[in-house]
Amino acid sequence: MPVEVWDIRPALAPMVSFVCALLVFIGGSRAGWRRFWSMSAALLKFIIVASMLPGTVGGVAYTFRFAEFAPGIGIGFRADALGMAFATVSSLLWVVATVYSIGYMKGERSLGRFFGFFALCVSATVALALAENLLTLFIFYEVLTISAYPLVVHDETPEALRAGRTYFTYTLTGGGVILLGIAMTYVVSDGVLAFGHNGIVPPDTTPAVLAILFVMLTLGFGVKAAIMPLHGWLPRAMVAPTPVSALLHAVAVVKAGAFGVVRTVHDVFGVELLRQTWLPDALAYLAAFTIIAASVMALLQDNLKRRLAYSTVSQLSYVLLGIALLNPWAAVAAVVHIANQAVQKVTMFFAAGAIQRTTGKTNISEMSGIGRRMPATMGAFGVAALGFTGMPLLAGFISKWHMSVGGFDSGMWWVALVMAASALLNAAYWFPMLYLAFFKPVSEEPTLGEARPSLLYPTLVCAVLVILLGLVSDLPGMPLSIARTAVAQAFGM
């Protein structure tokens, strides 16, 4: 069990970007200030989160409770390993994404709104990552839902508005289900909502109640985690500006769902309790189905961002699958994949955005020779794509490896098959793209024209991160080490 230490930093981290959001809303009409606030908040936040890392890996959980939200239920923050895994990724990628979006959004309108809600999203994400109890988690989960909306509809086209509505319909319904689930948990557990590795739900709960609770919570969170068939909003939300898609797809929104499921399994029910039921198996099958089916869907997409979206749907279910196996190896895969998928997907989205901004192309079929025109951008894309196919020494391999080992370890050999199939499908939909970009003979040699530096460098930084996450992920403070700490705590090892 981690040692609790009273510290304000877990509350400070979300607060920084919240204040930043306010400042941007107030003074956001001036580009200079906007940039200054966004950048400095992003950096500050990352420093705060990073400063907690050594302690987290060392088994300390920094805790901070706010004034009680209602008697018995506090808004509390607690930086345990699992939460830190998510918070670190979010805050780090926020720094990169801020640089990128400053470049990407240049010349767009309503930028104050954009950056304000962007900061708000990150604030909510970190807050929910560090939430100490289920209700706090849910509160910021919903804040995230709401504050992502103006970003989805940023373009203000009818299509964007429709997408926004779909997004809201899905996620808020999911939120409603979660709320009911939490209320039920609250009643079942007699007023306890604080996460604990032995679970909140008492062991003597009847199987039927257990099943209902589990279904409600996982499916509720599953909406944002885009588990099939609840994924419908995600591809449609692709109309958003690219930095938003990156944020939505890689860091904040979808991961919040996956993270919620992880919390549910580990800290609401507890591994021991779930082992005695069939529920996690059902979740595992559903996740496996999603992994495969979404990949097949991705194969059919021509629009690059839509393909990315379906790929996300597929990748998110890795987390769910890993957590559902109730095996330490697979659980490590799940937690570490939160980081790995985020970095890889952000790289891809950044590259896609850079292409769109530089050449105006959004469909894969138009991208012949793009790699010769923008070799660095597409190179970064390629690195991420290879990562997704599970090439060793890249981030994705770490997840895939742990997952496969976990599958064998828990006697579920089909998991490895799913991993293999997913790797192949990933190859099947990313390699042709790379082929088009780099190798397809084109009638006319494109002139070299890379994206502008503010788009290019964040992309490259992310690509480097993909490599680092595959190479040195086990260093203290890197995702794998955090994930191992988290899983060790959850499994009582």
């Binding site: 809303f25 706010f66 004034a67 009680e68 939200f69 209602a70 008697p71 808004i75 209700l135 849910f138 509160i139 910021f140 919903e142 804040v143 839902t145 709401i146 909306y149 103006p150 509809v153 203000e156 964007a160 508005l161 926004g164 509505r165 809201f168 319909t169 808020l172 319904t173 939120g175 409603g176 289900v177 709320l179 009911l180 209320a183 039920m184 609250y186 009643v187």
Partner: protein, 495 residues
């Protein structure tokens, strides 16, 4: 025991009513003086009411006996937890009046402004008196004060429907008042007392059942009508939509809540009475509440006029409270009680923000107000926050209610009810989304909208304060809950 709390209680009730009397002569002298006077009285009264609430939260309920006659013979003023919740909401009233100064100059012609101010003050006195009395007949009197002034205030609406809406409100209101009066008479005959606590005590032993049930039925029905519990809500949408925005804010925020307070008083009186089948009533009430939630939400969906929509949203929100009351367990009652307060804040914010839009542009439908978000960013921002709160998205005030009600429904093993609660709010949100979309993401269609700017500070400040409060109250919900909880425990018989 020091006497000041009692004196405070007396002055809180007396001040607005007497102040109202001065309004008309002062208005003859000068519009400004009358306005200043109104503001002064309102502010002092509301501050007093707030202090009463603070005291209740610290030391619990307290009473004052007029003229020193103890209950059951004398008239007892009593501030209990539920009254305190209304007292806590009194600053909303003050803010509305503050906001209304400029608005009424725009919406009400000069000659009728004196009575308007007076009516507002009377209304305030009625509201507070209703909440802070321990005497059933006093309750009736104060009820008539706020009801009559409310009927009249609705008629101040500029639209042609205002008078008709007011008339319908009046008929329903008068009918419900009659029911209450009848019940009071009956109860008095049965028990020989008008003091509520005493009455409850006497009803508890050996009073013939059938008349008691009749009295209960009449009283409950009367208050349910006042509270516009479905299907007795028919008067509400038109009346709230037709009134000037500040009045709508008061009506939706506070006046209908009096019906709820009345219902809670009814519980108090009949709790131990033989023959009254409270569980069945509660089952019915919560079911009606659930229907109201859905019905209000759906009807709000199809409105283009935003005020009508807000009015239907009030029907829906009263449904929440009814559900909470009907659940009659700790969580449910807590949720219902704090929603008395929360909804007052939220709905006032909504009506005032909308009023500001109308004030600047003259329009009040979604389609007319397209694109206003860019022109009046602060107002529309405040409106959006209130919208988020009213549909119960965390971490706003509305969420706290929803949470307690959901927990209460689950605890009462009525998951369907819980689902209704949660999902009808979503329906609302999707609809409200249409407003936000129209305001922010669509081009303007009217020139007035293009030219609009945020209203002056005296209107803006109340709007921002209220919407900020609706956000903050989610985080400091323990304040109203702390007040309500002992009262809830009392109702449940725990103390």
């Amino acid at each position: 025991m020091s006497e000041w709390p009692g004196q405070l209680l007396v002055s809180v009730l007396a001040l607005p009513v007497t102040g109202a009397a001065l309004c008309l002569p002062l208005h003859r002298i000068s519009d400004r003086v009358a306005t200043a006077w109104t503001l002064l009285v309102t502010t002092v009264t509301c501050a007093g009411a707030f202090m009463v609430s603070v005291r209740v939260s610290h030391v619990g309920p307290f009473s004052h006996h007029l003229g020193g006659w103890l209950a059951p013979w004398g008239i007892e003023l009593r501030a209990d937890q539920f009254g305190a919740l209304v007292g806590l909401a009194a600053p909303v009233f003050a803010l509305v009046v503050f906001y209304g100064v400029r608005y009424s100059r725009h919406a009400v012609e000069a000659a009728r402004r004196g009575p308007y101010d007076a009516l507002l003050l009377i209304n305030l006195g009625g509201l507070l008196g209703f909440s802070f009395t321990g005497d059933l007949f006093n309750l009736f009197v104060f009820m008539e004060l706020f009801s009559l002034s409310a009927y009249a205030l609705v008629a101040y609406g500029k639209q042609k429907v205002a008078a008709a809406a007011s008339f319908r409100y009046l008929v329903m209101g008068a009918f419900s008042s009659l029911l209450v009066l009848f019940s009071i008479g009956l109860l008095y005959q049965l028990t020989g007392t008008l003091n509520m606590a005493d009455m409850a005590y006497r009803l508890a032993d050996g009073v013939p059942h059938r008349p008691v049930v009749l009295a209960f039925g009449a009283l409950a029905l009367g208050f349910m009508t006042k509270a516009a519990v479905f299907p007795l809500h028919l008067w509400l949408p038109d009346a709230h939509a037709a009134a000037p925005s500040p009045v709508s804010a008061i009506l939706s925020g506070l006046v209908v809540k009096m019906g709820i307070v009345g219902l809670i008083r009814t519980y108090d009186i009949f709790q131990g009475a033989g023959g009254v089948d409270l569980p069945t009533f509660n089952m019915g009430l919560s079911t009606l509440g659930a229907i109201a939630i859905v019905f209000g939400a759906v009807l709000a969906l199809i409105q283009d006029d935003i005020k009508l929509m807000l009015a239907y949203s009030t029907v829906s929100n009263i449904g929440y409270i009814a559900v909470g009351l009907g659940l009659f367990n700790e969580s449910g009652l807590t949720g219902a009680s704090i929603h008395i307060f929360n909804h007052a804040v939220i709905k006032a914010a909504l009506f005032l923000a909308l009023g500001a839009l109308t004030f600047r542009t003259g329009y009040r439908t979604v389609s007319d107000l397209r694109g206003i978000g860019r022109r009046m960013p602060i107002t529309v921002g405040a409106l959006s926050v209130a919208v988020i709160s009213v549909v119960g998205v965390p971490p706003t005030a509305g969420f706290v209610t929803k949470w307690y009600l959901a927990v209460g429904a689950v605890a009462a093993a009525r998951p369907l009810l819980a689902a209704t609660l949660v999902f009808s709010a979503l329906v609302m949100l999707i609809y409200y989304l249409r407003i936000v979309n129209a305001f922010y993401f669509r081009p303007a269609v009217h020139e007035e909208v293009e030219r609009a700017v945020d209203p002056p500070l005296d209107m803006l400040a109340p709007v921002v304060l209220l919407s900020g409060a609706s956000l903050a109250l989610g985080l400091i919900a323990q304040v109203p809950i702390g007040i309500a909880l002992p009262g809830v425990m009392r109702l449940l018989g725990g103390g």
